[in-house]
């Protein structure tokens, strides 16, 4: 341990200790905090549903909050009439079953597989209609007008989800999530079912063709490269200011220190 004694008086020792402490805390936090990574959600067509299987799954995983007959309780809303689209969205994005109730349930790795999600959706749909899961053709962005989608997105979506769909803060701890991971089907379902803080954009407000255009805009925007270099998270001038100060002023100060540094005198014989 002699090296510690020798090194602890070096000028950089204090910085090294702070850096090491930060690294340890960071690693410990990353290890201790729960993982909420999400995976690609289902993208299959609706098939024949097994309502009974869905009901069994429901009473096992959902009924503690939503009630035995999906009639809702104090802690969760009624699901009668929300429709298959809503179930497919909530369960397919892993938001339901919720890990812990809060201002907003975040996206996470889905607990149920596609088959089970379909069964749950069939059960909820059997309770009283509601919007159905859209077909693959309905959500196909390949022939839609992304420019129109952009106009609609800026007028209807950007105020919460940000201009590039990077997400943003809402009131009271709620937030508009980033759209980077949402599949075309999930974007469509979100628009017709209005999950959590999001309003419903029904087919009279935004027509199915316009919804497809919005999906085209979102999917094109998130996959298009940043022509100007690193996108800095696409969150606007806050990140730019941070980069300007840290990298710009940081590098310039280092350069100034270098340029004005006194040359160490050549050692003679002392």
């Amino acid at each position: 341990m002699k090296w510690i004694t020798a090194w602890r008086r070096r000028p950089w020792a204090g910085y090294a200790v702070v850096l090491a402490a930060l690294a340890i805390i960071g690693v410990a936090y990353a290890g201790a905090s729960p993982r909420t990574d999400s995976a690609q959600a289902s993208d299959t067509k609706t098939s024949e549903q097994d309502v009974a299987k869905g009901k069994a799954l429901f009473s096992q995983a959902c009924s503690s909050c939503h009630g035995m007959n999906a009639e809702g309780t104090k802690s969760a809303p009624s699901l009668i009439g929300v429709g298959a689209a809503s179930v497919d969205f909530q369960v397919g994005t892993g938001r339901m079953p919720a890990m812990n109730p809060g201002a907003q349930i975040p996206r996470k790795k889905p607990i149920f597989n596609e088959q089970q999600t379909e069964e749950l959706a069939a059960y909820i749909a059997s309770l009283g209609g509601g919007p159905a899961v859209p077909s693959a053709d309905q959500v196909d962005p390949s022939h839609a007008d992304a420019a129109l989608g952009g106009r609609l997105f800026r007028a209807n979506c950007a105020q919460c989800h940000n201009f590039a769909g990077s997400g943003g803060a809402l009131t009271g701890g709620k937030f508009a999530p980033s759209l980077d991971k949402a599949t075309p089907k999930q974007i469509y379902e979100a628009m017709i079912s209005g999950p959590q803080a999001m309003p419903v954009f029904n087919d009279t407000t935004v027509t199915p063709a316009q919804k497809r255009a919005i999906i085209a805009y979102v999917t094109q925007t998130r996959s298009e490269p940043n022509p100007g270099g690193n996108g800095l998270g696409r969150v606007g001038p806050v990140a730019e200011g941070l980069a300007g100060w840290l990298v710009g002023i940081g590098l310039m100060v280092v350069a100034a220190m270098w340029i004005t540094a006194r040359k160490p005198k050549k050692k003679h014989n002392d």
Partner: protein, 550 residues
């Protein structure tokens, strides 16, 4: 100096100029101008060089930019906006970004240089403030600097408002709101500036003239004045060995400092080019064209407007209705008060300090921040006030990225903007006083040598070595802050006229604030420990030592 004649080509050119303009005599004096070496003295130069880069890249951009609100339909390379209606300003900016060779790089370098320009002005101003370099004879140059800073902010705001994208339109909408919030004349100012309703057709072209001609012209003139005054007065220096108020120790401008300055310009250019190449800034194609019915989350101004944005965000929604007229405190106060407090405060400060300390001497030696605790503490108070507003301006990003409630951030900053500065004042002042005590102790007891010796009695003590000559000169360079002599009372117990009245009392209080915490280094043991334990023997004698650092 060698007496060899220079090559004919050089001799001829210089001779030509000298015979006509008498340049040799002028240059001979100026070229030898000495500049002291310290990294913090280079910060202002970053601003100068970014300004030059801004002029060069800005000129490039004017070749293609069309400052017009005329409506066109886009059919350019960026297909995601194909067929969208937009202004010519936005259309031409897209064209610069995607169809002009090198256009996007130039745009990005221009924008990054603007960020660097204002950021470096800020750090430069902080350096000047905290070292007291604004004191006589440099008060006027401090004011010119403040003018440059204010105009720079405006220039930046106008610059990023020009492309007529969603963010710049949102910024202009706020600008319009600020104009309208001014009581009585607000509406007229807005109609005059915009030439009718918002956004109208006139504003962008008017803004363009102001951005590329008027403000750069004034900036250029002020930069010239700033530098001529600097050249005339000489640079401040930190106290050190052989350094006095009367001399400047450093490198002559020609050739040493000129080479350094030239290299530093290259560094500035390199950093802006690096950022412009690898970091995307102001991606207007993602924002889309401005339409008054659209808005985006994360609508923020550039960083230098951030504190105003923050003030607007945390201001409670207060309005007063008087005889059918609304006074919108919710816009008026955040728009004018923080800016007014910081700028007016900064402008008056040198004169307040002079008045309070009665110090009319010429100061060419810069203070170490710790040696002027009141000034440093007040400076940190302002920095914290500004910083809290600045952070509040990004509260939605903070809330989103750190998963806290947006309302919680708003309420936090409503408190922090008042409490933070107070904490900063107290903490800074105590830190400064502590550092002063530490300096005094170092001067009189030496520095810890890191050598532990065991005394015959079994006690372990650490050796102390006397401070090295260079370091001692730095410590001894501390300037005593003179307290204004108390005019006292006359024979009848009546205080002197100068110390009566509110003004006299304020001056006395301020003077006290400036001087009260001064730790003397003059006579050995300062305020830190007047316990009379006498002179300490030098390290190595093995005597018992104790150090109290207050």
């Amino acid at each position: 100096m060698s007496t060899a004649t220079p090559p004919k080509a050089i001799d001829g050119t210089i001779g030509f100029a000298d015979e006509r303009f008498g340049t040799a005599g002028f240059l001979r004096g100026k070229m030898k101008k000495v500049f002291p070496d310290h990294w913090s003295f280079m910060l202002g130069e970053i601003a100068l060089y970014s300004f030059i880069i801004l002029l060069a890249t800005g000129t490039f951009l004017t070749l293609w930019f069309k400052p017009s609100m005329g409506e066109v339909i886009y059919h350019g390379s960026y297909t995601k906006l194909d067929g969208v209606n937009m202004s010519e300003a936005y259309d031409s900016t897209l064209r610069i970004s995607f169809d002009v060779r090198g256009g996007l790089l130039m745009r990005q370098i221009h924008h990054w240089a603007a960020v660097l320009f204002l950021a470096s002005i800020m750090v430069h101003m902080l350096r000047v403030f905290f070292t007291g370099s604004y004191r006589k004879p440099r008060e006027v140059n401090w004011l010119i600097g403040l003018g440059l800073f204010t105009l720079g902010i405006l220039e930046g705001l106008f610059g990023y408002s020009l492309p007529d994208d969603l963010l710049s339109g949102t910024g202009l909408r706020i600008t319009q709101g600020v104009m309208q919030s001014i009581p009585v004349v607000g509406t007229y100012i807005f109609y005059f500036a915009f030439g009718g309703g918002f956004p109208g057709h006139d504003f962008i072209s008017r803004l363009y003239t102001v951005h590329v001609l008027l403000i750069p012209g004034i900036l250029l003139a002020l930069v010239g004045a700033h530098f001529m005054i600097l050249w005339h007065q000489g640079h401040t220096q930190f106290s050190g060995k052989n350094r006095t108020e009367k001399n400047v120790i450093g490198k002559p401008f020609f050739p040493v400092f000129m080479i350094k300055a030239g290299a530093f310009f290259m560094f500035t250019f390199a950093v802006t080019a690096l950022l412009g190449t690898f970091a995307q800034i102001n991606p207007i194609w993602l924002f889309g064209p401005y339409t008054p019915d659209s808005i985006t989350a994360g609508s923020q101004p550039d960083f230098y407007m951030g504190f105003l944005e923050g003030a607007l965000r945390i201001m409670p929604n207060w309005e007063t209705n008087l005889w059918g007229h609304t006074i919108p405190w919710n816009v008026l106060v955040p728009a004018l008060l923080p800016l007014g407090l910081i700028m007016t405060g900064a402008a008056l400060w040198p004169f307040i300090e002079q008045w309070a300390t009665g110090d009319k001497k010429i100061h060419n030696l810069a203070d170490r921040p710790r040696n002027a605790p009141f000034r440093t503490a007040v400076g940190m108070t302002a920095v914290t006030f500004y910083g809290m507003l600045w952070l509040a301006g990004g509260n939605d990003i903070l809330a989103d990225k750190f998963h806290v409630s947006l309302y919680a951030t708003t309420w936090f900053f409503r408190g922090a903007v008042f409490v933070g500065p107070v904490i900063a004042y107290v903490v800074t002042k105590r830190l400064c006083v502590g550092l002063q005590r530490s300096d005094a102790a170092e001067l009189h007891h030496g520095v810890e040598a890191g050598v532990i010796t065991m005394l015959p009695s079994g006690e372990f003590v650490e050796m102390h070595q006397p401070v090295k000559e260079d370091a001692e000169a730095v410590l001894r360079g501390k300037q005593e802050l003179p307290a204004i002599e108390d005019a006292g009372e006359d024979a009848n117990g009546i205080p002197a006229p100068s110390s009566r009245g509110p003004l006299g009392k304020a001056r006395k209080a301020l003077n006290n604030a400036f001087t009260a915490d001064d730790i003397s280094i003059g006579n050995g043991h300062g305020n830190g420990h007047g316990n009379g334990h006498g002179e300490h023997p030098e390290a190595g004698t093995g005597d018992h030592k104790e150090l109290s650092r207050g």
